[in-house]
Every structure is written in C-alpha cells, then in structure tokens.
Subunit: 283 residues, 3 copies
C-alpha cells in the first residue's frame, strides 16, 4: 500500500457534503428487493435520510419498476423463489436502463445456493457490492464461509477480496467497526476507511441492510465512489451521535433514525472522519 | 360545493367519541392482508388503538378467516401471487358474510398489474377505499400514475375521483396534510376534512397502511362514514400530539403509538378538528 | 397437585443465572422460521439478549441451515406453502442432528389447516412447545379454538393440556400474566410459574413470538427445563422493569429491548420470581 492521501480525503469530504445536499434536493426513488427482517427499518432509514423507498419485489412489476426508479437495491437476506426471479429481472432492467444498483450478498459464502445467485447477478454489473467482510470474501471466492449472518472477519482482511470484486462493479464496501471501501480514485485503486459508528450497531438487526439501501439512494445523486463514502459516512456519524445519548440497542435504534434525519452540512463537517490510501491493483 | 355544515360536524364529532368508546369496549378482530413493510407497525397500531390484529394471508385460511373476523383490510403494497389469491378469497368471503372491509390500493394507478387487481376487487364492494391522492385518482381512472409509492398530488385534487369511486363503496379517504374523506351524510354526497397530523408522518413508513387497518377496525363498531372519520381523526390527533414532543421521525413513530394508546374522550373533545361540506353528486 | 417446592425453586434460580451467562458467552446461532409480523422484532430481541438470529426459511437452505445452527424456532404465525415445506425440512434436520428446536403453534386450535401442520411437526419431537393458553389447549386437543391470534384463556387452565403435550416434547410454556411452564424436574412432572411482566406486553405485537425464539436460544446453552424458565424469566424481568419507566406500548417496546440487553446476574437475583410445584402425571 502507498501512504495516506490527504488531498483526496479533503476532496471526498466536500463531495460527501454535496452528495448529502443532492439527496435532500432530489429525493431519489429507491426500489428495494430485500429480506423480510429489514423491510420496515430500511424504508424508515431511507425516508429519514431523504430518499423515497419502494419495496417492489414481485415478478410482475420488478423489471418494469427498475426502469422507473432512480436506483435499485438487491439484498439476498431471505430470498424466496419468486424474489430471486424478481432480482434477475430487476438487475437486468437496471443494467439496460443504465440505472445504478447495489448488491448486498447477505449470507453469500456461507450458503451455496444464494452464493450462486449472487455470482449470477454479477453479470448485470452492480454499481456497488456492500456486505460484511465474510460476505465480501465469500463472494470473491477468497474466503471461507461464515457460520451465520454475522461476520467473523475484520474489514481489513476483506480488502484483497474487495479489490478482486472491482472487476464486476465500481465500488465495494466491507462494513465493520471501521468500514473499508474500495474503488478507483483518479483511476487508481483506492481504499477509503470510514471511522465512527457504535458497537451497538451490530446489536440492531438490518443495520447493514439499510446501509446497502442508502448506498443505492446516494448512487442516484453522486458518482459511485462518493456515493459509497457518503452512505457509509452518514451511518458512521449517525451511529456515533446516537450512541452518545443511548447505551442500549432499543433506544439506540430509534435515535439512529433521528440522527440520520438531523444530519446536515455542519454535522458532516464536524464529525466526518475518513482516510484515503492508494493501493496497488491485484495482478 | 355548498357551504360548511356546522351541525353535521357536531353530530360527527360526538359520533367519533362514541365510536372510540365502542372500539375499546369490543376489541374487534381485524384480518390484515398487507405488505411486508407494514405488518409489524400495523399490528402495533391496531393493538395500541384497541383492536386485535390477525395477519392471515395464506390461501388456505384467508377466506375462512374473513368470515370469522370482524373486519378485513386488503393492502396492495407488496403483493405476491399467493397473497393476491388470498385477497380474492377474503374479499369474496367478507362480502358474502356481510363483514366490512377496506381496500388500500397502494401503487394502483402507477403500476398496471396491481391496478387491475384493485379494479377486480371492487366487485366485492369494499366498505371504504383509502389511499393517497394519487392512488385514489389512479383507481378511479381520473388520474395519471404516480411515480413511486408516495403521492405527488394534493388531497383536494382527489375529491372528484373519490366521488366517482362512491359507486363501488360507502366512503373514500384521500390522506394528506389535510385528509379529504367523502361519503354520504343524510343521503347527500359529503366531504369531510380532517385537520391535524404532522409533517413527520410521511417520513414514517406504513403510516398510511396502518391508517387503512384502523379504518377497518372502526368499521366493525360504527357506521361507515363515522368509522372513516374516527380512524382519520385518531391519526390526526395522535400525530399532532406526538409532533409536539418529538421533532424527528424515529422518536415520533414511537410517540405516535403512545398517543394512539392514550387517546380518550377528553383528548378527542379537545383536539378533533373537522369540517363538513355538502357536495353535488358527479353527473 | 403437591405443595410448593422451595428447594427446586432455588436450584432453578441459580441455574437461570448460569444459563444467562452461558448465552452471553456463546452467542448461539438461532435459525428462525417465523411470521412476517415478528421477524424484525424477534431478531432485535435475540441480538439484545445475546444470541445471533438467522431467518433462513427458504426450502433450498432451511434443512441445511438447521444442521449448522445451534437451535431452531418454528413459528406458525403467517405460514406460506414454501415456509411450511421449510418447516418440515428444518424440523427433520434438527431432529437428525440432535439440535434443540421450539415449536410456536400460533393460531393452532382455531385454524384447522395450520393445526394439522403443527400436529405433523410434533413427530420431529420439539424440545419445547410455547404458545398462549388457547394454542396449547388447541394443539393438545383439549381446548376449543380461539377466535383470533390472542388468547381467551388463562394460563392455569392450559396446564392439563401442557402435561398432555409432554408426550411429544421436553417442556411446554403457556404464556400469560403469570407464565405456566411444565416439564420434568427430578423425573417428576413439574409446574413452574414465572411472575413479572407487564400488562403492556400483549399490546406489543410479536412479544410471544420473540419469547419463543429466546427459548430456542437458551436451549442451545442449557438443559430444556432451565432454558425454558430462563427465557420466560428474562421476559418477565425485562417487562416489569420497562413498565416501571413507560406507561404506553410504543415506548415500552423500545425500553423492553433495552432492559433485555441490560439484564445481568444482579438484576436476575433481585427480580426473578418463580415457584415450583410437583404435579401428578396425567393417567
């Protein structure tokens, strides 16, 4: 790895503020094909952050809607046969229409059936792949499977896998105590670390799922790397501020929504903490 | 339009208080065939308000249960093939058994497939149709489709469409900053406006869906127009009171449930704000 | 019935504290095949209590995952055809692998179709059957059906039915204002009453469902009777403490999660209230 790139961090810092303003101004319509555990929380997170959610996941409408929506999220959390067919239709339609879309490969790596679906969906070239480190490693073929839905790996360990996955997409996010995001900055593969959040976040279900949806929302209003950073930064700041006021997961989850809603330029200025590192491409 | 009818407003004001008491006394069993985003929040809203929810939506039981329940809600938010079949069975069974039922045509107008399902269900004569203005206009054939699930129209603009839909049902509710409800009062088509609520309500997902379920609950204990007003009034009052204490959507949503639970005669007396206007029928 | 057994109560009291510590230490992976209303709340309850939820309920993965997970919950709240098939596969796989599993027969008794499914699943010998009194009576064949999903019976009235069901499982829990649990203590059929909770608990949807999942989590770290008592005791204590701070169901539900998260040895010591009674077996 090369050293830290302070100029790039500053550029991205300002771009995140711009992206946040653009999200508020444009209220992008985000189609979510997602798991049953996450749907309510995800919709509330999108509404709090300034986007408009639509959980259209039936086979009759999924493809049509992907052409209408501003962005698409596909989350493999609790796939039904019908949802899987909708994922195929929607991913193809988004690709066809040039709409950004995000793949959240929940459980891929640990579970072969959904792992194969995730791999198949890569042909439609997601804009971003977001997951926990175990999922990123599993999807890239560089990791052993996790046991459940929670990650047993550190985000840093998923960076090689994330770089590998850049063949299929524009950015990859491996979430954790420090989020590790990779993409290209000035045409060089680059790692961005996002600091913040709270140890309570993993105690609230569907936090990662909702983050994937917010990445999709930002993809509708900013270029891929900025969008990926902006979504993760929003969660890191809201999580940090919510944890300053609440020490248990029930009230934290409520405050987290409130903090996302209250996010503004001043708070981003004050609390955003990222660093940027140029990387060598995988051979 | 004719002028405001103050006497009717007073009659309805008292009838809403009576309906609220009847709901507490009888705890009606409300079958909900609804979207995955709303199911938890809707059940909690019904429980807080004094009703008993049952989300029976499989084809094996939906028709049977509609004959047992006191009221039925059908919400088209995230329809699966199986749910659509259950909607047909339950609507037919409710009609057969003379049970009240509410149609919430989420996304109808903007999405042809579900629009056709909503039109088909009208043959079973719902007691009430509740939606946002775009949905009401879309279902009546008088509006262009909305882009997503959120309305782009003002409730007032949906009144002609609502009157048109009275051919199929007893009352129609178009929700918004000021809810616009139509039905017959003393055999004349009548518009009731319900004031209150909060601008945070659209920032909490499934608020409209839960309102549809509460309309169904009230239909089990009051006549159609009163029930429709009572449900909307409950939401308007709870929303207004919750927003006085909370300024962000996470904590607002929690307080909204608390305020619905705390609603009583005194609070209705103090906070209910409606006006009633006699209308000319559509030609 | 024989008299109260104070020594047994003391033994169980200490065993509950040990089980709580073991849950925190081992974070068991709990597969949940559950209804759509409960999934988010259930996952948050498991995370708050110290377990790791995974809602794997598709036919492709349900059986495989039951062999991997530490425990399984099957809840009949809103069964789809596909979920029912997954329940069969997962229950068989759990039995085969010697993993504990919990059956929550929501609505069994009142609804013949799911009643038959629940009876069929008994062949795979659940570790625990948990339900409201009407469901326990319905499943045992000793009760008339309830009308909706809420119980119309007192827990005490379900004790004969619970004893009857011990032919199929190790413990049975009938939840209510005072939970009535039956199982074998020193090889004698025994009734344990768990005191606590709050009258607000029935006003929060999926509380019973989430309790079933927590019973499954505890089955992974303690023997069946202790696990059943530990889960019910956790809910009784958290409910009591949450109700001391909140008087309405929205804020109570949030505080309930916080209290489960905050549960520790000192709080169990201070607030656990159970009594133990030896029973005569059914003839």
């Amino acid at each position: 790895m090369a050293g830290s790139n302070r100029q790039a961090a500053e550029v991205l810092h300002n771009a995140v503020i711009q992206a946040h303003g653009a999200l508020q101004a444009r209220t992008p319509l985000v189609q979510c094909i997602t798991n049953v555990v996450s749907s309510n929380y995800m919709a509330n997170i999108l509404l709090a952050a300034g986007a408009s959610p639509a959980m259209v996941d039936n086979t009759q409408e999924a493809g049509l809607f992907a052409g209408v929506a501003d962005a698409l999220l596909i989350n493999l959390g609790t796939p039904t046969d019908s949802q899987v067919e909708s994922m195929r239709l929607a991913a193809a339609a988004a690709q066809q229409a040039g709409k950004p879309w995000v793949l959240d490969p929940i459980g891929a790596g640990g579970l072969p059936w959904r792992g194969a679906i995730a791999l198949e969906l890569l042909q439609h070239r997601p804009t971003t792949i977001r997951g926990n480190p175990s999922e990123i490693k599993g999807l890239s073929g560089l990791g052993s499977g996790a046991r459940g839905m929670d990650s047993s790996d550190e985000p840093e360990s998923a960076v090689p896998a994330a770089l590998e996955l850049l063949r299929h997409c524009r950015t990859v996010g491996a979430s954790g105590a420090v989020d590790h995001l990779v993409g290209h900055y000035e045409e060089r593969p680059t790692l961005i670390r996002v600091y913040g959040g709270s140890c309570l976040q993993p105690r609230v279900t569907a936090t990662g799922c909702a983050l994937g949806a917010l990445v999709a929302a930002y993809q509708a209003v900013a270029e891929p790397l900025v969008a990926t950073v902006a979504a993760h930064a929003s969660f890191a700041i809201a999580g940090k501020l919510a944890a300053e006021r609440h020490a248990a997961p029930g009230s934290f989850a409520v405050a987290f929504i409130d903090e996302l809603y209250a996010l503004d330029e001043a708070r981003i200025q004050q609390h955003l903490r990222i660093d940027v590192t140029s990387l060598v491409s995988p051979p």
